[in-house]
């Protein structure tokens, strides 16, 4: 399946791009993260401490165990600091 993957803040800076389309068979967020980390050092670095990374599926906060079935857009970013 094809997934739009988007990155924000320092996750975006470490990976070096704001958005990409990924072809994957990953069943869960965690599986996708493992695939990305295996790709290149910059991905490995960005996801080296997943406790510092949040995930949203189709613009709703989710978690790393969540299945990717039917998901079109997945976002990775640090804990939010608005306000």
């Amino acid at each position: 399946m094809k997934l739009d993957v988007v990155y924000f803040a320092w996750v975006r800076e470490r990976i070096g791009l704001p958005r990409e389309t990924v072809e994957t068979e990953a069943a869960t967020v965690a599986e996708l993260v493992a695939e990305l980390r295996a790709r290149e050092d910059r991905y490995d670095l960005a996801f080296s401490d997943v406790s510092a990374v949040r995930v949203a599926l189709d613009q709703s906060l989710s978690d790393f165990d969540a299945p990717l079935t039917g998901v079109r857009e997945i976002a990775f970013f640090p804990p939010m600091t608005g306000g």
């Binding site: 949203a56 600091t81 608005g82």
Partner: protein
Amino acid sequence: MVVRVQLEDFDLGQELDRLRAGRTDIGALVSFTGLVRDDTGNLTALELEHYPGMTEAALAEIEAEAQRRWALNDSLIIHRYGPLKPGEQIMMVAAAAPHRKAAFEAADYLMDFLKSRAPFWKKEHGVEGAKWVEAKEDDEAALKRW
């Protein structure tokens, strides 16, 4: 119930005036304004990044939940993004209610959830370089109050 995410500044007084204009059922109006603080004089800019689409949805959901929890006449959230200078307004929330307790609690609630659940990230640009603001554990803990 309005949510706005915008680059440009807002007029706090005008927003609050508009919220109560022509009404006589509001007894209490509470506003919170977040400002770019620079204690040391080393901050050149605060840059705000956000997740267009998700931001608006998250803020609208936080506001809807506040409306479910308290008897509010109206509420408003405005949040800016882009580069801001020290002293500038970052964002505001307002809650209007018949009674003061609901207005205070709702504004406090909006702020707590906005801080930790709306996809904004701050980067401080200073004379010695740039650095992402880290989320405070306190902010996550504050959600348990509600």
